[in-house]
């Protein structure tokens, strides 16, 4: 969203122009004239049903799949004119099945790209330790282990660490959290957001889970057949203003609730501080969705809002929450529905 611009620009700009992929023997193209500008440090989500060409589109960026026509540039450099192996060493790549090398230790797995780039031993070893710490795996415990000795969630963290090894400006992620259980997935998503906050890579992230897209993305591209872009905008704008029926269908039920999940309580105009009833209180930096959840439990009486130190700074009720949604982005769309 808006903070994209204030982040340090560690990523690279990716520009796709009329990128098309036609497989031999198939009538229509799998990806038809796809164009997109991705700003440095942006986290772009490709969302769409299976078979819509979102993965194919992503894999053309590192030329795992060669485009039939069109151009792709990374920081102005034409991807198609580079040696594919050189190119891929500068692009982090994480896939759903993770693809760790089972015959190598965790440290060896993470060292693969640094070794390809002929880093010296000490630099590689230091980098492995640093990355394991970044993904919250203790290097002393895990560096010498083999992938099969790790849980699915831990393996996926190693997958992310391995992709980050040579500090690539661009990351491609193909449903990286798709195979994990819901609790692990949420934890990985939170950690991933925290990581991206620091690293500001340019990331193309493919998912079929719209909620994941809303949670993680700076911008979301909703794709349909042949990788056609139905809408490309911020999560808040897509939720508030789906471009067409296809997008609305993808957004699914509970668009308002999903929007509330993106907005912190401090965006609302708080009511007067009320005495805390029982333990029902919400932090000022929690989402409005959490606040609403608590309001349901409180039976509708205003819930106390507390700051980071636990001091009550105000209260919030359903009307104040609704007002935030009404005031956000497009008042015109909602004024008709409101008295």
């Amino acid at each position: 969203m808006s903070e994209t611009n204030s982040r340090p620009a560690a990523g690279a700009r990716i520009v796709l122009r009329d990128v098309t992929k036609t497989y031999p023997g198939q009538a229509g193209p799998a990806v038809d004239s796809f164009s997109m500008d991705i700003a440095p440090g942006e986290l772009i989500m490709f969302v769409g049903p299976s078979g819509c060409g979102k993965t194919t589109t992503m894999k053309m960026i590192n030329r795992i799949i060669e485009p039939t026509s069109g151009s792709i540039t990374i920081d102005g450099e034409d991807v198609l004119s580079l040696d594919p192996n050189e190119l891929r060493r500068r692009i982090g790549y994480v896939i759903q099945q993770i693809g760790l090398f089972p015959h190598m230790t965790i440290a060896e797995n993470i060292s693969v790209v640094p070794k390809l780039l002929s880093w010296d031993k000490k630099r590689t070893r230091d980098r492995v330790e640093e990355l394991l710490a970044v993904v919250e795996l203790d290097p002393k415990t895990y560096a010498a282990r083999y992938p099969r000795q790790l849980s699915g969630g831990q393996q996926q963290r190693v997958g992310v660490a391995r992709a980050l090894a040579a500090d690539p400006p661009v990351m491609l992620m193909d449903e990286p959290f798709g195979a994990t259980d819901p609790i692990t997935r949420e934890k990985l998503q939170t950690e991933f957001l925290r990581l991206q906050e620091k690293l500001s890579k340019t990331i193309v992230f493919v998912t079929h889970d719209f909620d994941e897209a809303v949670r993680l993305g700076d911008r979301i591209a909703v794709l349909s057949e042949r990788s056609q872009i139905e809408q490309f905008d911020t999560p808040a704008n897509i939720l508030a203003n789906p471009a067409n029926d296809y997008v609305s269908q993808f957004v699914g039920h509970g668009a308002a609730l999903k929007r509330l999940g993106l907005i912190p309580v401090n965006q609302a105009t708080l009511g007067p501080a009320v005495p805390v009833r029982g333990a029902i209180e919400v932090g000022i930096n929690d989402s409005l969705r959490n606040a609403l959840d608590l309001l349901v439990l409180s039976g509708g009486t205003p819930v106390a809002v507390v700051d980071a130190h636990g001091r009550v700074v105000g209260s919030i009720d359903i009307e104040r929450i609704s007002a935030v949604l009404g005031a956000e982005i497009v008042p015109s769309a909602l004024t008709g529905a409101r008295p």
């Binding site: 795992i64 993770i98 090398f101």
Partner: protein, 221 residues
Amino acid sequence: MNNSFFSDFGLFLTKRSADIAESAAEHLVVVLVSLLIATVVGVGIGVLVWNRPIARSLSIAGAGVGLTIPSMALLALLIPVLGLGWVPTIAGLAFYALLPIIRNTVVGLSEVPPAVSESAQGMGMGPVRTLFRVQLPMAWPVVLTGVRVSAQLSMGIAAIAAYVGGPGLGEMIFKGLSSLGSKNALNYALVGTVGVILLALLLDAAFVLIRRLTTSRGLRV
């Protein structure tokens, strides 16, 4: 009777110990050399064909048909081309050892999950590097099992190679069989046969050790 047989056999062993040791050593060497050749050729063929359905079927079927040729016949056929002695023996043995090695190389490489190969590609490893650093090391335990099967196969067939003047314990078996009724006939046949069995067991034990030493801990279940 029994006692006299054992003392007789014991005497034979002591008197011929140098001969027996030499035959056993030759037997082992001829098996190891042909196994080495078969491994290099078989893994090479496996690597070339595993990802090409037609070539894969052809080479596995071809090696399978080859295995059905009776070893005596094959060795005899090799005489006009390669003559007698070590050369036809090694050629024949290597030929029989190919099938299990090719087949297991193909199976081992096919069992590498496509996701692992794709992530190798995605990290900027070329096809050759992916083969040597990822695919072959992962397929190695299966390939080695093929070599081990071939080793057992070769041990037995090597005994028959005495027919083309090949070295090894087969000579003793043939000598015994061709002089049935004579004093040492049974002793020769017995020493040759038991010797082959013992060598085969020893080599198999060696493979257990090689497997432990050359397989990554990450692949051991």
